[in-house]
């Protein structure tokens, strides 16, 4: 059965990048590798829209998140954590693990974040060291107002640290213009690569703090990366050679395409996806839906887990169900990375077939038609 991957990470990898994954390995201490590494870091800056430094890790995105915490937060340091999804919760778990004092902004999953909440908390806690939040919360499909948050946090001594693991390269994001100090991301989402590599972009304000920290860490000690990797293209520990080769190919694709067209394209894909599920009579989960993943409420009387399972096992289409307390209650369709217009047609078409099979009442084809209309008129 032909397979289609529309989960919000890992995402499908372009054939040219897969071919790079299959290239012979070169040694990581050769000039050829060092050049590759430097070029990858340089081009990644354009994806983050930053003049800061980009670090490349061998880890999943969580490794980069852990690094962002251990390198900035000492024991008893206050940190504001926006917690309204699985990955916001992960920031909180990390801060707690390392003895920081999290000041939580707890919102119901999928609910809008008012930046004023952060401003108020910062006012009350001027000794806050960092604000941890998320560009697009993969577990709920929401986008947070990072630009507005940046305006608030940049006026204080606190660092603004953003998890852009699922958003980078898909959701509009301008690190420097939006005054973000640290952004972390991973390979297997908008960057169109297999899982295995993670990234952090770090500005001067953040380096000043990081350099003062004495926190015990080794593999994720960012000072080591600044010295070896940023300075000289030399990974402190053996780099993921195949991923870096594939990354360069992905960055070439992104560069030719341009970041701006990609932002526009995912916006249209998201709009088409939303129009389609609405036309089927389904409701969105996120109050402010992002451009890279659409979270949809499972309609009354339908078994959400069975829906996702049938799509995968009987139609070959993999999407994601809900996590934690929304398991079985929502499903999530990705439109990031190497997912394009006919992938949306495929998932909407398959979704309609499965919903019909499960006894949901609607007019088959309405969803596809709604998506087609938008894709025909607005897709670039």
């Amino acid at each position: 059965m032909k397979k289609y991957l529309l989960s919000p990470g890992p995402t499908p990898v372009p054939e040219e990048c897969l071919a790079k994954m299959a290239e012979p390995i070169i040694h990581h201490r050769t000039p050829a590798y060092v050049e590759m590494n430097k070029l990858a870091m340089e081009k990644m800056k354009k994806v983050f829209y930053t003049d800061g430094d980009v670090l490349i890790f061998v880890s999943s995105g969580t490794g980069a998140m852990e690094g962002a915490v251990v390198n900035t937060i000492d024991k008893n340091d206050k940190a504001i954590v926006v917690r309204s999804g699985k990955f916001g919760e992960r920031w909180g778990e990390l801060v707690e693990t390392y003895g920081g004092v999290p000041l939580y902004i707890d919102l119901e999953w999928g609910k809008k974040l008012e930046p004023k909440l952060i401003a108020d908390l910062l006012d009350k806690n001027p000794d806050t060291k960092a604000v941890f939040t998320t560009l697009t919360e993969t577990s709920t499909g929401i986008v947070y107002p990072i630009k507005e948050i940046g305006e608030i946090v940049s006026g204080t001594d606190a660092l603004l640290i953003v998890d852009a693991i699922s958003g980078l390269g898909g959701q509009e994001f301008y690190m420097d213009d939006w005054k973000v100090d640290i952004t972390v991301s991973g390979s297997q989402k908008g960057l169109m690569l297999p899982p295995g590599q993670a990234y952090a972009a770090v500005n001067e304000k953040a380096w000043k703090i990081i350099k003062q920290k004495s926190r015990a860490c080794y593999y994720f000690n960012w000072a080591k990366y600044l010295k070896g990797q940023v300075g000289a293209g030399k990974d402190p520990f053996t780099g993921a050679v195949s991923h870096t080769k594939a990354l360069l190919k992905a960055l070439e694709i992104i560069e030719k395409d341009t970041m701006e067209s990609r932002f526009q394209r995912y916006k249209v894909l998201a709009k088409a996806c939303r129009a389609a599920v609405n036309a089927i009579g389904l409701e969105l989960f996120a109050e402010v839906p992002c451009d890279v993943v659409t979270a949809v409420k499972v309609p009354e009387g339908i078994d959400g887990k069975l829906l996702v399972k049938k799509l995968r096992d009987e139609y070959g289409v993999t999407i994601a169900g809900g996590q934690a307390h929304v398991a079985g209650k929502i499903f999530r369709i990705a439109h990031m990375g190497y997912i394009e217009r006919f992938d949306i047609i495929i998932i909407i078409s398959a979704l309609e077939m499965v919903l019909a099979e499960l006894g949901y009442e609607f007019r088959m084809g309405n969803g596809v038609a709604a998506a087609q209309k938008i894709l025909a008129e607005e897709y670039i």
Copy 2:
């Protein structure tokens, strides 16, 4: 120029494994992935020769080393560290980073380790929590007497923790029989894969200690891996899907070949390599040379760095130079993983050509002939 990789990591990857790296990505929360993961962990036990649990990480080998320290050593815990090479030093750095009290056994690089030194230190420090050492020290080419060390340490409460990053799958090693409690390894050496995945094998004695630890850690918190990965095939964080696919292919190759034939084969390759360098008039660096990498002293009057550079840039053959204070003074030829008999002929032949060019006096062809003789008679 045709390229040959004979460095002690990363090593060449068999074409069948490279092809796996290029396969489409599957989602890490599907039954298909969970099955792959479980099978990989099960087969890895045979490579470690253990009935313990095998954990799989997305990281370089150092990440698994860090995990072995943070999960077993609390602040002020005493740990014996055998330090006579770059990777022994890394154990020490890790123990120090996390506030442990390292009891160092400092040997000159390349010198033999007397297990009695460990016994004496354990006698004097019965409260020692762990002994950290190395199977094959990649930086010097020595093999340590792990079996004898296991006899000593297993009689105490201390854990024996072995870095088998370069040795696993090449150098004879029987984790359970030799009473090793934790073994860590990486993908890019004897396992014939690209860098990006690391492994740990953990026995019951070690789990008992790990479960009592309260040390702050998140990404390398092995309890999370025990629960999700070992228990249910579910990685706590997105796994390196491509690597796991390639790992299964590598394990299939190893299984068909058998571990025992491979041990024998690398023994013969090492013997041929040593005979060849001796026939050229060169000296070995390690007092007890291992089977997976041969470290050779650069002869008087020859520029060691230039030698390695010429081999790489003019002949296409990548080996490794010396690290730290032996930079320029030794070079290292790997015979691990997917390196076989004619690769040894290639490197010896190229080495002779470069040595002649650099003005070293010897009879061209003697090295190759010495290697040929052993390979013809003993290679399996």
